[in-house]
């Protein structure tokens, strides 16, 4: 057995995995939402291998500031060191494996293990070992016993990501145009910072069901009918049933949701930043702000029109309802931890900042007026996938299948435009089967589907 692999993770072969989603027909085998062996394999082949969102640089302003995050179920310490660099370190002592940090966030000078007192620098280097010259007789090669660092840590626009796979492509390439557009979206009106306070809760659902949902404009009117009745949400204003704009990228990256028409964008293009700001102020509250000129560079000439939801594969959802990002951390086949990061422009005036935080506090999270009802649907969809006969039924990802065309726009940015559909969801599950079937990055690169073109 390979390093760290559990016997259970070997129960599916590549052919069986590929058959779990049939991109031709749109049918998904629901064992992907319930089988324990597939889940173990996900930890290895999706999470340890992919790029995982760690934190935004604004969360760690000073040396020693740290924030605990996860790569799959592996706890990592994200910490800024004295050189200003953000390191991602496995939170497990090299001696016996004890945790270095047990808080969620904090400030440290170094990381001292509470078991035997090994002391690690903010960059993970082992800097102190009690008894090194006596008990260890100087044998210990401290230079090889630093905390295990993520194989790569790279950032884009201040967002830091990490992977445990040293042969993973560079973050820039992994995100690709679509992922970068997604991150560009949140910076379209200025550089951002993360507001203190990550909402976290545990939901009884498979993490992929939560990802599937973020592309899904179809559920809004029905799932969120009560938020609409209560006056919290104006479904009519946000649905845009036939102004959808889906962007698909390498490795499973995708953006789904509405887009502005080229005509509308053209009008915006003609406006100065001041005019845009004025237009934003004139719009009803909770309307997304008109993007500034910088947006085009960040999102591309077509991407700038997207008003949808990016998912950075595998599990980072970006939303502008409250300028938030939601990380979906796997906790078993039927459990997911949801972490909500709230972003505000660094230079936001106090009232705007207040309004954005208030919107974020009320829309998502466990008490959020939208997410309450989402959770119910996700957990029930997951629960049913555990039944032998229900599991056999399959999930139907049929909407718009074979009915739309990938448009190649300016700068080669591609999109599928028109009706609400399930193009992004299909792309997500298709990519998932490819990630899961491939033993390593080389095989994944050799076997993964190119981004769809033509009719989809």
């Amino acid at each position: 057995m390979a390093d760290g692999t559990l016997p259970i993770a070997a129960q599916w072969d590549a052919g069986e995995i590929r058959a779990l989603f049939d991109a031709e027909s749109g049918w998904l085998d629901r064992r992907v939402h319930s089988d324990a062996a597939l889940y173990q394999l996900e930890l290895e082949r999706i999470f340890a291998r992919g790029w995982n969102f760690m934190c935004h640089e604004s969360q760690l302003p000073n040396a020693g500031d740290y924030f605990i995050n996860y790569i799959g179920e592996d706890q990592v310490i994200c910490v800024r060191d004295e050189n200003g660099q953000i390191n991602v370190l496995l939170n497990t002592c090299r001696h016996r494996g004890n945790a270095l940090c047990r808080a969620e966030q904090g400030r440290a000078k170094s990381f001292v293990c509470s078991y035997h007192g090994w002391n690690y620098g903010l960059d993970g280097r082992l800097i102190g070992v009690p008894g090194q010259s006596t008990y260890y007789r100087g044998d210990l090669d401290k230079s090889r016993l630093g905390l295990v660092k993520a194989a790569k840590v790279e950032s884009y626009l201040g967002f830091h990501f990490a992977t445990m796979a040293s042969d993973a492509p560079a973050l820039h390439d992994y995100l690709g145009d679509v992922g970068r557009t997604g991150l560009g979206m949140v910076c379209a009106n200025g550089d951002i910072e993360v507001v203190d306070g990550i909402q976290k809760n545990v939901m009884d659902c498979n993490w992929k069901i939560a990802v599937d949902n973020l592309f899904d404009w179809y559920h809004v009117p029905y799932s969120h009918a009560s938020a609409n009745s209560a006056g919290f949400l104006d479904v009519a204003a946000i649905l845009h049933p036939n102004n959808q704009m889906v962007m698909l990228g390498d490795y499973g990256q995708a953006i789904g949701g509405p887009g502005l028409s080229k005509e509308t964008q053209a009008k915006i293009d003609a406006m100065s930043d001041e005019e845009r700001e004025a237009a934003s102020r004139a719009a009803p509250p909770n309307t997304p702000r008109v993007r500034l000129r910088r947006a085009k560079a960040l999102m591309g000439p077509e991407g700038v029109r997207s008003m949808g939801h990016p998912n950075l594969f595998p599990n980072l959802w970006i939303t502008m309802s409250g300028l938030q990002m939601c990380l979906r951390l796997p906790r078993g086949p039927s459990k997911t931890e949801l972490w909500w990061f709230t972003l505000v422009p660094r230079d936001a005036p106090a009232p705007l900042r207040r309004r954005m935080i208030s919107q974020a506090n009320h829309v998502f999270g466990p008490a959020g007026l939208l997410e309450q009802d989402d959770g119910e649907n996700w957990s029930q969809s997951t629960r049913a996938a555990a039944g032998f006969s229900s599991r056999k039924v399959g999930a139907a990802l049929l909407m718009g299948l074979g009915r739309d065309e990938v448009l190649v726009g300016e700068n080669g940015q591609t999109s599928v435009e028109g009706y609400v559909g399930e193009h992004a969801q299909r792309w997500f599950y298709r990519s998932w089967t490819e990630w899961m079937a491939a033993r390593d990055w080389a095989e994944l690169e050799a076997t993964r589907s190119p981004v769809p073109t033509g009719v989809v």
């Binding site: 047990r102 808080a103 809760n201 009745s229 006056g231 009320h362 466990p366 008490a367 959770g375």
Partner: protein, 191 residues
Amino acid sequence: MDAVAESRPSDKPRVGAGLSAQVLLQYEIEQFLYAEAALLDARRYREWLGLLADDIHYWMPIRRTVTLSDLDLEFTKPGGMAYFDDDRALLEMRVKKLEAGSAWSEDPPSRSRHFVSNVRVLGVEAGAQGDEITIEVCFHLYRTRLNSEVGGWVGRRLDVLRRARDGFRLAKRHIFLDQTVIPTTNMSTLF
């Protein structure tokens, strides 16, 4: 008491009242809190709204697991991120949502039980709209949903009751959970 300070529990003795007056006040307050809890448990949300002051602040900050040296980070601050940070309008919106007939997470409705315990009057102050009584309680909000989902929330609550002509009105409810990562699929229940 300012909002930051109150996230640190208080043991200020209550002054300025004879012992029997204290006992009577304690009784009135406990009965108010129990009746209020019973309304929520009976899903009589609109009547519950009737017990709230117009300027109510209903707030539950985010709690974090932090080391002793970082205890100043344990709770998020007023005006920052929170699970609840509601004024009366938002609470009415929550009730409206529950009444909408399409609040799926509460239909079938969950079953809640508000245990209000260790009730302590921390202070009585004269306010413009009537006496304001600051109260600390330990709460256990037990909840079951559907046939097998059992959960709940535990913590400390800081309430301010204002004495109106026809009884008390809840002018502040600050909820300090003992849980950090919320262990439930949702918090569709009122505290």
